[in-house]
């Protein structure tokens, strides 16, 4: 019998587990992207296709979609683990909960935020966003979606034990998403207007650090409450 794994090894295994679970079906990787693509396609249909109008609104639209995609995937972050008993096991584990929770959030971020950030330029071009604004778009999405993942995970942790959580997480979490939306879309708009973008990215970075430092505690507390409810 070799003993239990070290804390970092263990967190790494949880990360692999989450990624494997998500990627087990190849279509799963592409789904968020396709969702993103389709919703992007809805906007010209709903708002009318005038290119200049679309370009004006592209930062906002892309950020709103990223935010919704994040929200939707956050909802299920702990659900199956709650239902099949994995979450109780995690809470009983001798391993530090902070790191375990971090692994969950990291997996979520990689699979939604990072992925979306990477392909967002494609959709931005479809919405006629000038190429100059693309780097800011990617940078702001990368940082901002990290914050969203942490905040969304708090909501998910607090609602995972509720049998009708569905929309509740949106209520809890959307108000906290709003600053990220404002600074994220603001960064891209500033980039478009040729204004300095560093302050925006700095704010998003600060929010990200704050979320990473405090978020896991709130998530852990939420999970304990949910399992004990």
């Amino acid at each position: 019998m070799s003993g239990a794994p070290g804390a970092l090894t263990f967190a790494g295994r949880l990360l692999r587990r989450q990624l494997t679970l998500a990627l087990r079906r190849p279509v799963a990787v592409f789904n968020p992207l396709l969702f993103f693509a389709m919703v992007v396609a809805l906007f010209p249909l709903g708002l009318g296709p005038a290119p200049d109008r679309l370009a004006d609104f592209a930062p906002g639209i892309l950020w709103i979609i990223a935010l919704l995609a994040n929200l939707l995937s956050a909802e299920g972050l702990f659900r199956s683990d709650f239902e099949d008993g994995s979450l109780e096991q995690l809470l009983l584990s001798p391993q530090p909960l902070y790191l375990s929770v971090l692994a969950y959030v990291l997996a979520h971020w990689l699979l939604t935020g990072v992925l979306l950030a990477v392909i967002a330029p494609l959709f931005a071009v479809m919405l006629n966003l000038p190429a100059a604004a693309l780097p800011v778009l990617v940078a702001s999405l990368l940082l901002g979606s990290g914050v969203l993942s942490f905040v969304g995970s708090i909501g998910a942790a607090l609602t995972v034990g509720l049998r009708r959580g569905g929309m509740l997480i949106a209520l809890l979490v959307l108000p906290f998403y709003m600053p990220v939306l404002i600074f994220g879309a603001g960064a891209v708009e500033a980039g478009l207007a040729g204004l300095p973008v560093a302050p925006f990215l700095a704010i998003l970075g600060a929010l990200f650090s704050l979320a990473a430092a405090l978020g896991p505690f709130a998530i852990g507390a939420g999970l304990r409450i949910s399992v004990d409810a």
Partner: protein, 250 residues
């Protein structure tokens, strides 16, 4: 001295004591607050001169502004109570938190509705996405989120802990939300509309407004105490003192 303080804290943890104290507090706070409200509103409605730009519609200020001010303060009361209940596991803080949410939500609602009504004659529209208004709308969402979360749990002890976590997360976030919305608005503010000109208020309008604000704080506290009393009862229905109370108050 220390013994006295200790016994005070001890009593604070005792439901029947709190129930009684809250009752007697209510006994004089409620009449006083109502008196302040009636005086302030009557003063504002009947005895002040109309604003030179807005005419009589400005009289809405005597309910609009107090509701907004107290609603915002209410969130901090709630979060503080949540923190206390989470950290020191104090039952009464927990009850206070649960009692604050509906009152705060109602005041936020009043601020928004009276604002919407004010906006129609003043700006010709029910709603604008101004920074203050948007932040207040978000505050309403925050309150409703806490209420919805509480209601969604069957296990009310767990519900309180969950709401405490949520309102704590909220306190960290409220300043961020406010700053971001302010900034967002100043970035986008359309040149054609200007609402936030530092309106210097005439003292004749200020006194009734201050009185009305005090009245709203008082009423907020009354609703809070009342809710706490009801909540204490709800949690203690099986205890002897409630049974005695029910028997006596026939």
């Amino acid at each position: 001295m220390r013994a006295a303080m200790w016994s005070f804290f001890h009593k604070l943890g005792s439901p029947p004591w709190l129930y009684r104290i809250a009752g007697s507090l209510l006994g004089w706070l409620l009449p006083l607050s109502l008196l302040a409200l009636v005086t302030g509103l009557a003063w504002g409605l009947l005895f002040t001169a109309p604003d030179f730009r807005q005419g009589n519609s400005y009289r809405i200020i005597y309910i609009h502004v107090p509701a907004a001010v107290v609603a915002l303060a209410g969130y901090y009361v709630m979060a503080l109570a949540g923190a206390i209940s989470l950290i020191w596991k104090m039952k009464m803080a927990d009850i206070a938190m649960k009692a604050t949410a509906p009152v705060g939500a109602a005041l936020t609602f009043i601020a928004l509705v009276t604002g919407a009504i004010w906006g129609k004659p003043t700006w010709g529209t029910w709603w604008v996405w101004d920074a203050r208004i948007t932040s207040m709308l978000i505050l309403l969402f925050l309150y409703l989120g806490v209420i919805a979360l509480y209601e969604a749990y069957d296990n009310k002890a767990a519900a309180s802990r969950a709401c405490a976590v949520l309102s704590l997360v909220g306190t960290v976030n409220i300043p961020i939300i406010y700053k971001s919305v302010d900034w967002w608005y100043s970035l986008h503010q359309p040149a054609s509309i200007k609402f936030t000109g530092g309106s210097s208020i005439d003292p004749s309008m200020l006194y009734p407004l201050l009185l009305s604000i005090i009245a709203f704080y008082g009423l907020f506290s009354c609703a809070l105490l009342g809710n706490m009393r009801a909540e204490i009862l709800a949690r203690e229905t099986r205890t002897a003192w409630v049974r005695r109370l029910a028997g006596g108050e026939a």
